[in-house]
Structure formats: structure tokens, C-alpha cells
Symmetry: C2
Subunit: 374 residues, 2 copies
């Protein structure tokens, strides 16, 4: 198992990650607290897709006391945004709605350019603009959301960026991110930029993200208070398994591992039917007799994580499949239909006007372009 912000390989042992990263499990008590604050519990929490956190209890407490708390998440732009990329955003949207919070979304065009040495700047910008439309489609509040590209907002944050970078040594980024002496100086500088949106407000940032992003918050938490800010809180998700099976994570660069947001219905059907790893048996007879194994079945897992919010319906599918009454093909049909319906609606919600608001013209965006951070 290897998990860094840039790779996830092998079978992911999430309990071990909690230990290694030094985060906390989201226990029943914290779930109760979230339920109290939000009025309900999102199915991604009920089903433990979001499973780990840092100081989320503290952040909720602060909010109860009327103190400032805000949301922050981000995206490293690339062509081939897939459904795995949407999960933390969908969850973030729910949090924003339920808690009424400001939300900052950082588009790390600089990082992408620094990591992918063969990519040119225009390509990264085109990917960023496309990705932002997909983010906008999630339905964030256009007046409480600020989406920015690092390269555009740099002029408002450069002094704060230097102040942050001044607190981080190369030893630290080597130890935390696995950088080496061969890493380019741009990439080793970059962690400072991923940290600074946590300083956009004096209150505490809550960061919904996949667990592989946690190393950034570890560094943030080491330096925040010395700079007069609060340690960030985070709420971590697991990875959505790639089509091939429950190991690793979906990859933008392996077409057969993911469903892209612009995949046509026929392509979705073909990929699911052809590649989705099945928990079913070798023959129909065997399947009827022994039943499927939902735990390792990617189609079932995708329904559980993303596409079937209704617990009763999900339990029904699980029961049918486990009993052998439902065949793999039938399970896949359910998923194909859900995905295609979701994607159709998603594409309909891509909206240039809302993008404009969240980037430049909404209430929060306008305020952010006025601010200069030192």
C-alpha cells in the first residue's frame, strides 16, 4: 500500500491510514453531533465513505458557539474528470447547504503544471476551465462560493504565500510528501499554496477531501497557530474503487478504470458491462446457489458510495444480489441507468453564468478579489 497526494497503490487499509496519518475515526458520537448540526446524516457518512477526521468535533462546537467556520476544498485540474472526483464535492455541497458556510475551492493549475512536465500551460488552463464548469454543476451557493485558479489569485495572496513558505523547510516537504533532491523547486514550494486558503478567514477551515490529501493539513496544523490562524479541521473520504476492483483509486489516465463526466450513455454501458469487477459467480447456476459478494463487487460499491442514497433500496439490492436472485448483469443494469441519469442531469447543470458568479461576480467572489492577504 502506498498513499501520497499523487498516488494510491495496492489494497488500501483505511484503519492503518488513520494510524499512520494520526487522524481520528468518525465515531457514533461525532455522527450524532453532525446529525444535530445538519438535521440529518448524509449517506456518505452513514455508510462510512467519509470515515476519518481532524478536529471536526471542535469545528462543530465552534460553530454552535457562533464562531466563524468555513469550508475549503480543491481540484488539480486535468482532462478526464471522472465520477470519483465528484464525491467530495457532492458531500461538500451538502455541508454548505446544511451549515450555511462560505466555501473556497482552489484550482491548483500551478501544481498540475509542475507535476506533469510534458504538459503546456494552455492545456492546463483549458482543463481547469472545463473542470470548473463540472464543479459549478454540483450546485454550490453562487454567493457563498469562491472558485479560483492559483495562477489568477496569486496577486492577492503572494505575501501570505511567502509568509507561509518561510515556515516550511525542505526537510518537512521531503518527509511529508516524499519529495527528493530531484524534485523541482516549483513543486516543493507548492504545498504552501495549498495551505493558504485555510488562512482566508480567521476562523477554522473544514476541509472535505480524500484521505490522500491529509499530508497538507498535517503541515498546515504545524504552522497555523504560529502565524495567528487556526489549525484546519478535515473530514476524509475513502477512495472510490476503480472499475477493475477494490484496489487503488480511479485514474484520469486509465480510461478503462473510470467513468468520465463526458462519457456517452453507450460508453458508460460498455465500460460497466465490460470492466466493472464483479462479485458474482462463475456460472449462473453457481450464482443462484451461492449468491454474489457485494463487498467486492464494484457496481454495488458504486451504488453504495454514490448512486443509491436510499438505504432501503440499497438494502434490497444487496439482499437480492447476496441471495443469488439478482445476477451481475442485472446489478450492472441498475448502475448503468443510475449513472446515465446522473450524468445527463450533471451536464445540464454546467452553467457559464454560475461559473462567472463563483469565480468573479458573486457576493463572496467580489469580496475575495478586493482582499489582499499579507
Amino acid at each position: 500500500m502506498k498513499v501520497t497526494p499523487w498516488e494510491a497503490e495496492g489494497e488500501i487499509d483505511y484503519k492503518r491510514l488513520i494510524k499512520e496519518f494520526g487522524t481520528q475515526v468518525i465515531d457514533e458520537r461525532l455522527k450524532e453531533r453532525i446529525k444535530k448540526a445538519c438535521g440529518e446524516l448524509h449517506f456518505m457518512l452513514r455508510r462510512e465513505f467519509f470515515f476519518s477526521h481532524r478536529d471536526l468535533d471542535k469545528a462543530l462546537q465552534e460553530r454552535e458557539r457562533g464562531e466563524s467556520v468555513f469550508l475549503y476544498t480543491g481540484r488539480g485540474p486535468s482532462r478526464g474528470m471522472h465520477i470519483g472526483h465528484l464525491a467530495p464535492l457532492i458531500f461538500t455541497k451538502w455541508l454548505q447547504e446544511k451549515l450555511g458556510l462560505k466555501l473556497f475551492i482552489e484550482i491548483t493549475d500551478d501544481e498540475k503544471f509542475l507535476v506533469k512536465r510534458e504538459r503546456n500551460w494552455r492545456e492546463v488552463q483549458e482543463a481547469a476551465d472545463e473542470n470548473i464548469l463540472d464543479i459549478v454543476a454540483i450546485g454550490f451557493d453562487p454567493n457563498k462560493t469562491f472558485i479560483f485558479k492559483d495562477s489568477e489569485y496569486i496577486k492577492n495572496v503572494y505575501p501570505l504565500l511567502l509568509k507561509t513558505a518561510r515556515k516550511i523547510t525542505h526537510s518537512t516537504v521531503k518527509a511529508v510528501f516524499g519529495f527528493t533532491d530531484s524534485t523541482n523547486i516549483g513543486l516543493s514550494f507548492f504545498p504552501a499554496y495549498q495551505i493558504i486558503p485555510t488562512f482566508f478567514e480567521k476562523g477554522r477551515a473544514i476541509i472535505p477531501c480524500a484521505i490522500d490529501q491529509d499530508p497538507y493539513w498535517r503541515v498546515q496544523r504545524d504552522i497555523a497557530e504560529g502565524l495567528g490562524y487556526k489549525k484546519a479541521a478535515a473530514i476524509h473520504s475513502k477512495f472510490i474503487p476503480p472499475l477493475q476492483g477494490p484496489k487503488g483509486k480511479m485514474s484520469s489516465s486509465r480510461a478503462e478504470s473510470a467513468i468520465y463526466l463526458d462519457d456517452e450513455p453507450a460508453a458508460v454501458r460498455k465500460k460497466i458491462m465490460k470492466y466493472a469487477f464483479s462479485g458474482g459467480r462463475a456460472t449462473i447456476e453457481e450464482h443462484r446457489k451461492l449468491g454474489g459478494v457485494p463487498e467486492i463487487d464494484v457496481s454495488f460499491q458504486w451504488l453504495k458510495i454514490l448512486f443509491e442514497p436510499d438505504d432501503r433500496k440499497l438494502a434490497e439490492v444487496e439482499e437480492e444480489y447476496r441471495s443469488g436472485r439478482m445476477l451481475t448483469g442485472e446489478l450492472k443494469e441498475i448502475l448503468v441507468e443510475k449513472i446515465n441519469k446522473f450524468l445527463e442531469e450533471h451536464r445540464r447543470k454546467r452553467d457559464e453564468r454560475k461559473k462567472e458568479m463563483m469565480m468573479y461576480k458573486g457576493a463572496l467572489a467580489r469580496e475575495m478579489w478586493e482582499r489582499v492577504y499579507e
Copy 2:
């Protein structure tokens, strides 16, 4: 001897520096070429204060062929700008005038902030604004000069900065600048920014600077052609000796080592009389008999490097002093008068309107704010 962009210690062996840095000596042939191009030879060249170069011959050749060539220099802003800081600027002004070139002056407010961990941003900005007025006083062409603070111009260059940083590894900056794993990630990123003004035009940059800045150009020359630009040319000066004697260089942080641009006439007199290392003898009798030693006399050296452009007059002073007819006190009187006259005039030439032009409103400045470098 230790020479890096941040320190110069011990007796400086300039011949050894040329060897270690791999630069070229400015020989008679090159001086002839400069004389031909400029119509005359600046006394800092005649007296070998500017003594070393990289590709200056090539740059002059290109200019003769009508190809684009431009000037670039800079300043790390701090309180306590002293006369030592002006020498490369005075020489640069002469080059601009004689060759009619565009000039870029980078104010590295980011670097200063990153190196001096105790300094706050406002202090650095105030120092930068003061320093820029002193730079403006040198008399550059307001329509052919662009003075910019890194923190302000960042928005126009960030993509190019990333492109440059992507080509430089941490190994390189460790080897070239002596950075270690304890260096902060801001400072190890910074060399990319000091390099990019060499890419402001497609032609060749000529960089007048003290020899300690050469490591930056070594890195630039390794990566420039791979990015589609030309290797920078440089013309290197020696250091102006501090008042205490011919070792090391003047320091902004040791008040008794330097004459500051805002020193009052009485302070100048006191410092020279009290601290300027003398090449005179222990007693008047001995001095009359043996004569002074101009080679180690700081007052004489300052006249030679900065304050007495007239070769005939300088030779007279040298002869008088060496013969013992002129006493140290008399030599110092000459210097005090020259410095005070220079400083009075210098302060008169600090000009807010010209600062405005070179930073924002002159022909070149306006053009530069329109440009975005990718």
C-alpha cells in the same frame, strides 16, 4: 574566502573567483570592443572595477548586427542602502545611455522577506519604496526603464515562473547556492524569479552586477535554451571595500562599514575620519619619509572606484599620497567633500514622478503591465 549571493567574507581573490565561477576576464580586446560600441570606456572599466563577464562579446556582436539586446539588474530591498549599492547602477545607467537599451530592474522584495525571517512585510515594502527612489535618482531613461517589485509583477509572470521552476531541481539550488534541507521552500523557489527577467525579451540580457550574483546566471544559462531563450550575458564588478579595510564587502547591517545614502555631511565626515582604513604611516615623519600606500587605503580606493572619474586628477592624488606629500587626513578631506557633494546631488534627484514613470506610466512600464508571460 567565501562568496555567495548572501555573504562575502575574507580577502577576496578575484582571479580565483573567475576560475571557480567559470567566467571570463575582461581583456583589452573586449575593452576595445566596448569602447567602439559605447564611444568611450567608463572609468569603472578602465580601472578594472568591472573585471569579469560572460558572453558580453557575443551580446555586443549581436547588437552590432541589429539583434535585440537588453539590460537587466536588480536590488534586494533593505533599509540602509549605501554607496556600494550604487556602483553597478551607475555603470548600468552609462550602458543604457551609450547603447540605448531597455532596462529591467527587479526589486526582490520576496527574497528579502524570505531570507530575513524576523522582518515583516510592511518593513520590506517601505524599504523597497525608499530604495526605488534612490535607484530612480541614478537617472535612467524613464521611458526605457521598468522597475518592478516581485510581489506586484507576480501576476504577469506566474506561468513563466512555474515553467522556469519546473526546470530547476533542489539538487541544483543546493549545489549552486549552498541551500540545505533546512532552507525554507520559499527561498529555494526564489532563484526561478531572479532568472525570469532574462526571459522578458527574446534577445540576450546583459546583466551588470557584483560577481556574487553570478550563480543565478549559471543556472539561467543551463536552462535558457531549453525554454527557447538566450543564455544571459553578464558583466561583473568587484566589491567596494568596506571602510574597515579591503576585506569582505560593505554591509547594510554594520553602520560603521558603510556610508548610507541618507547620511548627513557631519556623519559622513565622522565615519571617514574615524573608520576609513588608512594606507598612511604611524607618524607624520614616517609618512613624509616613506609615503602612503594607495593600494590598501580605503579612501583612495573609493575615489578610484566611485568618486574621481578623472584619470589625471586621480593620478595626481595617487602620486601626492604615495610620495608622502599628502597626509591621510588630507586625502580623507578630498573624499569627504566628494561624497557629500555626491550625496547632496543624489538626494536632490530622488523624484516621485520619475519613480511613477519607471514603475507604471513610462512607455516601457506601460507595455510591461500589458504583457503576460507564459
